[in-house]
Symmetry: C5
């Protein structure tokens, strides 16, 4: 449940713009890292105090400030004040139950995304909220805890691979989003594998375990869908925005991300269809099974109950039961019983139950 | 049912604009409270007569008139006349089965919302209708009964916390709506908890009680959905309206409320999906259970009915049954019976029923 | 079925504009009543011949001509000719299977609505078609039979209550529509009550009768939905039309009717959700019941079949069964049987079946 | 299946515009009939050779050329060439799996419709494709076989009934479409009757036959829907087109057809809802039935199995069973057994099973 | 699963525009074939080195370069560089999990489609990605492996059949798309046949095999839908694009392809409805079957258990059982037992179980 509804109770009733962290505390101490680069130069450092990243605001080079850990509200507040971010924007950063969205505040563009990862302990997909602020010559990214999917981007910046060192902060912001969305494919692949396994299992062995699995995967789909659907709007909003912060040339890359998003949504819908098909199959399999159980019972009962009745008849103690005195009576009864059983078996075979 | 359909029968056939209170009488006596403030001054009082609040109409300060209790139609009528409200608007205030909506009457803006609360006695979510009239320098709010979610706003006005004392009546109206919508999150959290509890219960123990719970929660979802869906339109209507009553600066706050509304709708949809998944699981669990019951029956019957038959055979009173005379006949029969039972058990194990 | 599909067979193949009455004949004789009024004067009469209402066409006062009974095609034809109504319009009036719709023929506006009423004999909601023609200074309404929801409007005109005597024919037309739509709320209330009763019944007692009720109510929903959905378009069409026949001031009243329509549609959708929830619950309850039945069977069979077997064993007539000679043998067998039964009961209790 | 998918395999890979007849051959020989008329004159003839209809192209009178049978591709080709029809249009005429559509080729308008008829042999609704080409002063209609719903139109032309002889070819084309769509109502009526019959049957007697009927009717709905849905677009396309071929005055008639189309779609949707309700009821009825069967079994088994056990006990051959020697022992056992049975019956009555 | 989700893991984290082949390697060695033609001349050859096709870029004739096999990234790269294709376009060509799409890069138009084929080994529909680049005077097509549906087009070019040799590269591109989409009809026919077979089977014999078939066909539908739905957008995008690369005259052909696409989507939706109907029928059939099984059991048990009880009574060893001494006692018991059985049979016949 906590994945779908974030506890916000402590927030209710506070004036708008009041900064309260909503969500689990995932990092011990907030960690601020700064990457500053242009085509020629490159600098990387971990800020000890939040003030360390202030000078980069007006430097003409591209600066990427990454903050891991949102529980230290003071840091967020100071950065907000220095970089001129609206209090409501800061509130959104801290409220980790935020829906993916994009807002254009002229002097900067604000994007909220969900970074998905697979929680091995719970065998569940979980989401971490990533907020990205794109300014004139800086990008600030806020994450809930350490560990992310941006290492390859850092590598590319350090190694000056690809276009990234030559491009502006909009390309950096794009790269971050692209990395997050690329990671969705991996999550989907893993989910797809699990669903594929279930498909085969369910017709032959509709166990309680399988039911639990279906239920679980369905929950995953609901969660994924909620995280991914709004993305389409977000990216197409970025594409259409006329902000001067996004270069013409970056648009074609955004178009590419947009295609990926649509592809992911498509795949989720297809998987949903598949899962609901599996559930239907599960139900049918169970009914099939019950049918089988019932058939076994019916065959046994229908054959032996009449025979037991016959045996019972000749177990009666009437003084005068003529058959009892016949010499071959016992064997005759056996003959009758065996042929009755045969007839029943024939009847069941005709019905296709055997 | 009464939550979904309000009795309006007494209203049918009356000319439009006739004031009739539709809904339960929730307050003994209507209570009018007035808060009047600007950046410097602040005044709070309970009006004894409805006329007490008339002078505030043209005062340049911001005035918030709150009326608890709608059954006294005269009060509503007098306020309506003095503040120039349209008769249809008054009708809407009194008809508590109103759908959330927003209307722009140039000289004032009219908003109807549902304030949700959790009725502990019935363990149900209930709605109280709140109507807000935003005028040039006043806000009038109408509630069905006492008790609301506005105490923190009153606190903020009294204590001059946040922006509220410096801002105009549009900000006050926004704050009221924000408080109502913020409260939805709490309702959803509680509902989410209940659903979360059901999830675990249903696979293992698909009891009748669980069925009743699912049914109940589903009813809650239908009700919530009905209350919340129209909100999106209402808020975006306020955002888009070009009324001079809403300041440019307030728009960004409305945008924020809009985001919350979308988030709530999203969550409700996700919960709906979850609940319908739980229902499916319930059905499957019941089928699973029946399967189990049937297996037990089948195993018992299939093992013992044939054995009973064998015993029956040697209980027959034929004069000539050769086996009966054999010394070890009895033990031989036991041997046969035990091996028959063993074979059956093997067969069931092969089928995976044991 | 006849509520959903009106027999039109006799109409097929006729040229368009041919007047044929489609539907049941509900009135013995068509009845024409005329109400003519302005702010000061008022006249009411029953027309003996259709020609009696012709002079009112050009009178500057507001005239309301109401025709009960559509089977007398000549009357409809004559009125059509005199008031300049298009043949296709007349065809629509006579075809009582018409969908609610609104058409603007410059010199007059044509609206078709469904007036719902509760047929007590069949315990079903039924619809009567009402066609309203709004002209320069007249309103003509066509109904299938006598008896309608307009009595309060007549009262208001006679008694000069409310705005109606001062307003034009557009306000009269609005009043008629408002009366029809207000009546929907009463129908919905009654339906809601029935559904509410079903809700409680279904979990505890999923009888065949309940199934029939669910089925019946579902049919009602389908029918209601078909009658009500197109209304939204009709009313918003009236609001948006730029016809000079509808006064600016009437628009706010149309807006009100529109709100009611949306509210009704909302309620129908909520009821649909509720009914489909009830059906699901019904299915689950039946499964639950079957489970219970099976448990009783299984418990009885599983306990007594083994015991019967034991009794059968000692009913065998072997010459040498050592146990039979033991003095306490009989009591020992009882002890065995009782403890076996106890063990079984324990086992079932563990399984939670007892 | 063949109703849903037409075999097109032989067409795959041919260049566009290649004329191949897709569908069953329904007429032995193509038959061409010509009706030529204006307000005063009227001429009707069957063309022996396709060339017979060429002179009518430039005659100022209205000409209706009707071709029954599509398998003779040469005829289609020649007509196409002479009347200046695009090869792709001819392809569409021949491909009877075509979706209803409308295309405006400036010099002529092309409409494809499905004429439905009831195949008595198969008790199924079937569709025949009708293509209509509306030119400056001619209408060409192509049908798959003889027999159609146009006889009343022919009658009207011959008898000079209605507007038809005075109006242009657009009115003729409208009349053809109107006749086809009017016929849908008859098909729907028949279907509605069948569904109505099913409704009553299913609660009381959920037989296999009923299941087959539901399945069959569902298939009909799928087929009907596929034929009718695109019609809305087709007709509204005709209404909106600015082609000079369609007179202003004809538009109101098209509007009328449009209304009919919407009404048909509405009815189909309502019937779909009804059918799916019937299916649900069927499922519930079956479950109800099974419940009943199980109850009978359980009652019988639960009463007699314990009694049989008691009888078995006193059938044992222990040497010392004290009860056996009591004089009234036999009757005492009967007393015990009868009271046990009574208790069981009481218990089942309490459970509401009797 | 692999049909729905393509493994992209190896791609995650790479900078955009990095060329990585996603998908199975279907061809041993990439094969490049060139067809160059205009109205008079025609040349066909297999390129040994990728550079062989470079000179055709600026030749005024129409050139069709077809590449089978995508695993050799260098070839793709070289062609991309020479023909001025954007790196993201090349990325899309290599990523065979691409969704059908169309992009207009001014100097060329890029279309991605899925070519479906029936994999006989797995009895499954599979898709191969075909990318088409339409330039000023060339068309480049990329396929995953050898074997395609373009042979008839090659034939037409070689034989100068149809319009193709006289038309430009846009017509060639259209022809390729048309061939691919025409092939869908064949796939659908085959699927339709399978579904038709299932329809008949399922009512009479709801076997486990049938369940597996339904499940399988449902999977096919999900897959087909995913491949076909985006096509509509693609083709209408091509129609609406204002690129100078697409001639006016080609538009009517695109319109034709569009119609086919809509027809295919329609058919898929109808088939989906049919399949889901079959599944419902399957479930009902199984329930019906179980009912039948239960009836057999109930009839047998209810008849013979009471009889066995009677026999058991007279098997008791009480010293004093008066009936035992009666001379005709045995026959009287038989009479009682037979009439009891008769009564039961009568009762079951009344219930309609026999």
């Amino acid at each position: 449940m906590s994945r779908i509804i974030k506890r916000r109770s402590k927030k209710a009733g506070l004036p708008p713009g009041t900064l309260v962290h909503v969500g689990k505390k995932r990092a011990e101490k907030a960690k601020i890292t700064i990457l500053d680069y242009d085509g020629k130069n490159f600098e990387e450092r971990v800020a000890k105090r939040v003030e360390d990243c202030f000078p980069f605001k007006d430097k003409p080079t591209v600066t990427w400030i990454n903050i891991d850990g949102l529980h230290d509200i003071k840091i967020i507040e100071k950065i907000g004040k220095h970089f001129g971010l609206h209090p409501l924007l800061l509130e959104d950063i801290l409220n980790t139950g935020q829906r993916p969205k994009m807002e254009d505040f002229e002097s900067h563009i604000f994007v909220v995304l969900k970074m998905l990862y697979h929680d091995k302990a719970e065998n569940e997909v979980r989401a971490e909220q990533v907020s990205i602020v794109l300014g004139e010559n800086f990008v600030i990214s806020f994450q809930e805890g350490e560990g992310d999917v941006f290492d390859t981007i850092r590598e590319r910046i350090r190694g000056s691979k690809g276009r990234i060192r030559k491009a502006g902060p909009d390309y950096l912001a794009y790269s971050l989003m692209d990395a997050i969305i690329d990671n969705y494919f991996i999550i989907l692949e893993r989910l797809g594998d699990r669903i594929g396994d279930m498909e085969d299992e369910v017709v032959d062995n509709p166990s309680k375990e399988a039911l639990r699995n279906i239920h679980h995967v369905k929950g995953e789909m609901v969660f994924l869908r909620k995280s991914v659907w709004p993305l389409r709007e977000v990216i197409s909003g970025l594409e259409r925005t006329e902000s001067r912060l996004i270069d013409e040339k970056t648009n074609i890359y955004l178009r590419d991300v947009y295609d990926h998003t649509v592809q992911i949504i498509d795949t989720i819908e297809s998987l949903r269809d598949t899962v609901s098909g599996i559930r239907d199959t599960y139900m049918s399999s169970i009914s099939n099974r019950m049918n089988e159980v019932m058939k076994v019972l019916t065959i046994f009962a229908s054959i032996f109950i009449p025979l037991t009745f016959i045996a019972g008849v000749y177990g009666m103690n009437f003084e005068y039961i003529p058959e009892l005195g016949w010499h071959w009576g016992y064997f005759a009864v056996w003959a009758v019983m065996i042929s009755a059983a045969m007839l029943m078996l024939l009847y069941f075979r005709r019905k296709g139950w055997l």
